[in-house]
Every structure is written in structure tokens, then in C-alpha cells.
């Protein structure tokens, strides 16, 4: 009962935050609403005892991805009037995407049959010693070892690609060679000149 009440509270918050995300005028507010969305979905995952997924969602998306997002959004100076002009032009694209997503959701629900989908029942609670992380690790590193490693390689390639795209040597760029900077000695920089004192004339 408590779990269901909690679920309803956080699901409502999640939907409200999602609505706020697409209606907020200030892009920074939108990004913050997205953070709220992630936090609420993490709580919903916690309620079905998927604590690993819940915490990793917060760790990766809230802790890293959204920080970089905010980072970019905060530095933008967005002109709302200009944005609105594009809105009507590309509205049909948005509608097509929305309808496609809704159709997919409906299809999934329908294929299970509305009666077969028991939304009122939650999964049987596991015992206190059950570790979600351990269970997930055992499956990922045995049964799904190859798909998992493939996904890891894919991410690595993506990182390398992102770095390769942004690594540009601009002409005339001044940069510091740190190892040379560190290994510099006083004798390289300072020349001690002994000047004889002259007599006043």
C-alpha cells in the first residue's frame, strides 16, 4: 500500500516535471526539469527494488550528462522569438514523432492485452540479503558478456570519435609544453652579467 502511494506521488511528479520540461520558456529551467524527471524515475526504479539501475541513472545522467548539458545551456543566449518562428515550420515533424511513439506504446500495451497487464500488483519483494548489483553483475558478465563488451567497445569508439572531431590544431595557437616548462632550469632563463662599477665622471 505504501509502495503504491509512493509510486503515485513520484509518478505524478515525473509527469509534471516532464510537462514542465517541454513548456518552460527558460532553457535552464527545462534542463532542471529534466534533472527532476531523472530523479523521479530513479525513485520509481527504487520502488521495484532495482537500486543499481536507479542509482546509476542518478550517477550518470544527473551527475555527469546533465551537468554538461546545463554547462552548455547556461552559456547560450537564446532568442525566443527566433525559436518560435521555427516552431510552426517543424511542427509537423514533432507531431509525426509523437504519434509514432504513442503508437509504439499502445502496441506494446495491446499486445499484452489490457486484461493481462496487472498494474495493481507489484513484484514480490526480495529478501533483505538480496543484492540487486550482484545479480545484475552475474548476468552481465556470464550470459551477456559479449553484448556487454560490444556495447563497451561501441562507447569507446564513440569517445575516440568525439575527441578526434574536436582535436583541431589551429594555426598560430600558443600553448604551453608542460614538460618543458617543468624541466626548465635557472641557467636557461637567467644570464648573470657582471658589470664593473664605473667611476663617476
Amino acid at each position: 500500500m505504501l509502495v503504491q502511494i509512493l509510486f503515485l506521488i513520484f509518478a505524478t511528479l515525473l509527469v509534471a516535471a516532464a510537462l514542465g520540461l517541454i513548456t518552460a520558456r527558460n532553457p535552464v529551467y527545462s534542463a532542471l526539469f529534466l534533472v527532476l524527471c531523472f530523479c523521479n524515475s530513479a525513485v520509481i526504479w527504487l520502488l521495484i527494488e532495482a537500486e543499481f539501475l536507479a542509482i546509476v541513472l542518478v550517477l550518470v545522467y544527473v551527475g555527469a550528462v546533465m551537468v554538461l548539458f546545463l554547462f552548455v545551456v547556461m552559456m547560450l543566449d537564446i532568442n525566443l522569438a527566433e525559436l518560435r518562428r521555427g516552431f510552426t515550420r517543424f511542427a509537423w515533424l514533432g507531431w509525426v514523432t509523437a504519434i509514432a511513439v504513442i503508437a509504439e506504446i499502445v502496441d506494446v500495451v495491446w499486445s499484452h492485452g489490457l486484461t493481462g497487464l496487472d498494474v495493481g500488483r507489484s513484484a514480490a519483494p526480495e529478501s533483505a540479503s538480496y543484492s540487486n548489483t550482484l545479480a545484475l553483475g552475474q548476468v552481465i558478465y556470464t550470459r551477456y558478456a559479449y553484448p556487454f563488451e560490444l556495447a563497451a567497445m561501441l562507447l569507446l569508439v564513440a569517445i575516440v570519435a568525439a575527441i578526434a572531431l574536436t582535436m583541431r590544431r589551429r594555426q598560430g595557437l600558443k600553448y604551453q609544453d608542460i614538460s618543458r616548462q617543468v624541466s626548465v632550469r635557472a641557467a636557461d632563463r637567467v644570464r648573470i652579467v657582471k658589470v664593473k662599477a664605473e667611476k663617476r665622471t
Binding site: 542509482i55 544527473v62 555527469a64 554547462f71
Partner: protein, 356 residues
Amino acid sequence: MPHTLATAWASLPGIARTTVWILIITIALILCVALLTLWERKVIGWMQLRRGPNRVRLLGLFPGLGQPFADVFKLLTKEVVIPTNANKLIFWTAPMIALIPAFAAWAVIPLSPDLVISKANAGLLYLLALSSMGVYGVILAGWSANSKYAFLGALRSAAQMVAYEIAMGFALVGVLMASGSMNLGIIVRNQEGGFLSQNWFWLFPLFVVYFISGVAETNRAPFDVAEGESEIVAGFHVEYSGIAFALFFLAEYANMILISALTAVFFFGGWLSPWQGWPGIGSTILGQPSFFWLALKIFLFLFVFLWFRATFPRYRYDQIMRLGWKALIPVTLVWIGVEMVLASYHIGPWAHSWYH
């Protein structure tokens, strides 16, 4: 009287007892922060051949003991000035967002053999997630104040914290490998057997990386470019005054205590005695596990924090990035490889029976 108190305590429902413990820990933490600010000024004063605060007495005790409380009352009664073009909502919430993770993290830290608020199985992950949320207070404060200096400080610290979180996470992967659990209580228990069987012995490079990243995560000297006074006034909290500023201060010092506590738990056996199980001293009261060992270890690491601040000049921004990405992360990756070798030959912590 103690007997009736004890029965009354035991008859309370679990949630009430937890709430009382949360209150006790929070208040104790705030007091510790107050005393830590005094200790910091005293220690740095001594290192620089000064006296530090020595005027305000509390109940006629140690001179200077009243200083943090005097500071708090001064800040409480000061006006909080809000910049005209600031985003008021975010400006007000940012200090609280900075403060919450610093306090919430204490929920999973085992304070003594039988005192921990939550025995969460994913405690280590929870700590990582919370420490990654600490950056929000900083960037929101920097952005909402609508000030160049605050924004520059926020950008610097956001980049720095994201970079050092990776090294920190990898160091914790090493701890996870050596302990075989993400439950902090079990991590402590698996270091039983005295000073030399604690994690720091086999994970020494990871300990160094973790502590350095911890100093960088808390934006403390020598990594305090986020508030580099000589360049950007005071960084992200330049526009904050009065109690709003005090909250940022509280968050920073609470984070220092937290990082010290975590270093003690992950690498130095938390509440375990360093002489546990040693012949002679191990069988006396000094060999018993207790909260005081944890407190002593936290105190030592806090002293190192202050020592760093009094000793090292501030790193330049590009040096910070270079250290994080090109020195600390490779060290952790190499040591995880070393751990794999140790584990496959059952050396060190991997020789224990709980590992198999």
C-alpha cells in the same frame, strides 16, 4: 532512570529511532563544522607563526573557542543581498542544493560497529551518486547570480568536479574489488586484522588518488580555482551574503568531513582499531573497535586538508585538468590491472575466505 530511558528508547518504533539518530548526526555535524573552521584558522595560524583567533572566549574556556559561534551570529543577522538581475528562485535554492548531498551521504556511513542509519547494499554507489550531485549547488549558484565572476567560478568548478569524479569512481572500483561488497559496513568488516590488513596497504596508489580527488571535489586548496580569490574574487558564491553564504561555507566544510570519513572507511578500516588482533595491545581496550577510532581517523585526514591549504600554492587551471586526466586516471587504471593479478594469485585481501 537510565533503565527506564533504555526501555522507552527500545519501545519506540524503528522510524522514530532513525529520525532521532538523523537529528543527532546532523546537529553533531554542524557543530563539527563550526569547530573545524576554528581549528583551520588556528592550525594555519600556527603554521604561519601567528596565533589565529584568540579573542572570543566561550564560558571562559580556550581563547578563540567562541569565534565560530560569533561568526555564525554575525552571518545570521546580516542582510542577504540579492542582485537585481538574479534569478531569485534558483538563487535561493542553490545553497540548499549544495548542502543536501553533503548531509545525506552520512546515511550510509557506518559510525560504529552497530550504528549506521541505513545498511544499504548499494551504499558505495549511493555515495558516488550523491557526490556527483554536489556540483549542482555550485553551478546553479554561479549562473543564477548573473555575475561574470560567479559564472566563471561555476564553470571552472563544474569541469573540475566532473573530471575528478572519474578518478574517484575508479579508485572506488578498486576498493570494491578488494572488499567484494558495496555495503560500507561489510567494506569495514573485511579490513579486520590490524593496521596492515586494511585496504590502504594493497591499494596505496588508489588511496592517494582518492584523497587527492577528494580535495579537488571539495574545491579546497590547492585545487580552489573555483573561488580563486586573486582572480575571480570568490568564485561561485561572490554574490551571496549573510546566511546564504554561510550555507555554502557549511556545505564545503561538511564535504571535507565527509571525504575524510570516507577515506577512513574505505582505506583505513573505519571504526576498526589499527592494533586489532596484535599481540599485547590488541587485547586491551585499544584493540577494540569503536566510534573513537573513526573519529580519530577523520580528525587526522581533516588535519591533512588544512595542512595542504597552508602549504601548497594554488594549481593553475590547465595543471588541474592535466593532473586529473593524465595522471590520476591512468594510475587508477593501472592499479586495477595490478589488482586483477593479485586477485588471480590470491594475494593480500583476496586470500580471505569471503572472497571465494
